[in-house]
């Protein structure tokens, strides 16, 4: 699974990382160091591309 990432302001001053997989499924990742997907985003250049917490059927 390959992901693309985009920084999105969902509300004024509230930022999320919008993650899109190669099937077009979008997920919004909080910019919270305790969130595993945010850590994967921060380390995306060193971790396997398919490290994530996917959803049903992913």
């Amino acid at each position: 699974m390959q992901y693309t990432y985009e920084l999105v302001e969902t509300f004024p001053n509230i930022f999320y990382i919008k993650r899109t997989d190669d099937s077009g499924v979008e997920a919004w990742i909080p910019t919270d160091p305790a969130n595993a997907d945010y850590q994967a985003y921060l380390n995306k250049d060193t971790l396997p591309s398919n490290s994530s917490t996917p959803q049903a059927g992913a």
Partner: protein, 322 residues
Amino acid sequence: MGVTLNGASPESIFTGAIVGGKNAIINGGMDIWQRGTSFAIAASTAYQYTADRWCSTSTGASEAITVSRQATGDTTNLPNIQYALRYQRNSGQTGTTGLGLYQPLETTNSIPLAGKSVTLSFYARAGANFSATSSLLGVSLSSSTGTDQNPSSAWVGSASVISSNATLTTTWQRFTFTGTIATTATQLYSQFTFTPTSTAGANDYFDITGVQLELGSTATTFSRAGGTLQGELAACQRYYATAIGDTAFYSTLTSYNWEEIYLPVTQRGSATVTSLGVGTNTNVGSASAPAYLGSNCYRYSVTGAGTGQVARNESFSFSAEL
């Protein structure tokens, strides 16, 4: 002097008891499958959550797997547990890299076990074509000195607590292993590994359930971590939950509506939010992603596409997994 109650140690008091909090493994009875009950996992997948709290890995090439919920179906050898997890290398797959099923424990649930003797127990059986050499299922419990990590991403200060094998047959058996956790440990994960050989047949799998990690050197009667089914579901929802956002308002083109979503439990932190599908979607201009407000509450906004009634119904998943 050790603490006793009527001559019994604290751990032995729980022998035979079905009680919340005894088992550190959440969803060890494979009861909760909020993401679905069958997962086709491609070869070369670092990890994927399947049954709640359980990660599956298949890092090798030509090694696609299927993880599914199964009824235990054996009232003789396993009479009191309804479901099991089946971990299967798909028929015809030729990869022989080790495959793994594991559960990382959150730091706050690991620290109470630091410096203690613990017992890991579980029930397992093999499929008719289980290809591991000598039908061995690898069993391990590892500690770390990190905080809330997933071992597929990072695992600092790793130390082995249990590293052994279980010899499976096609009949359910209970296996028990004991180890001592380092006093400096701040996180744990239990793992079951299967190293396949040759080309997979139609039944190259193992089934597992009743996984329990408890204090002491004796395996007691399996108990859900949450004590009851509802307690187990709530324990799982601390890490993953689904909820529906439903909004309806009259749009004047300059208006928008904020919709709050309240999760069934407060999770361990702010979650990754994914849309699971949009139902009603009438006169909607745009809808934002739900943003975390704190506690168990998320909020998103919806605007109208034109003057008139707006209605939108969308379901989301919220993952605060490790």
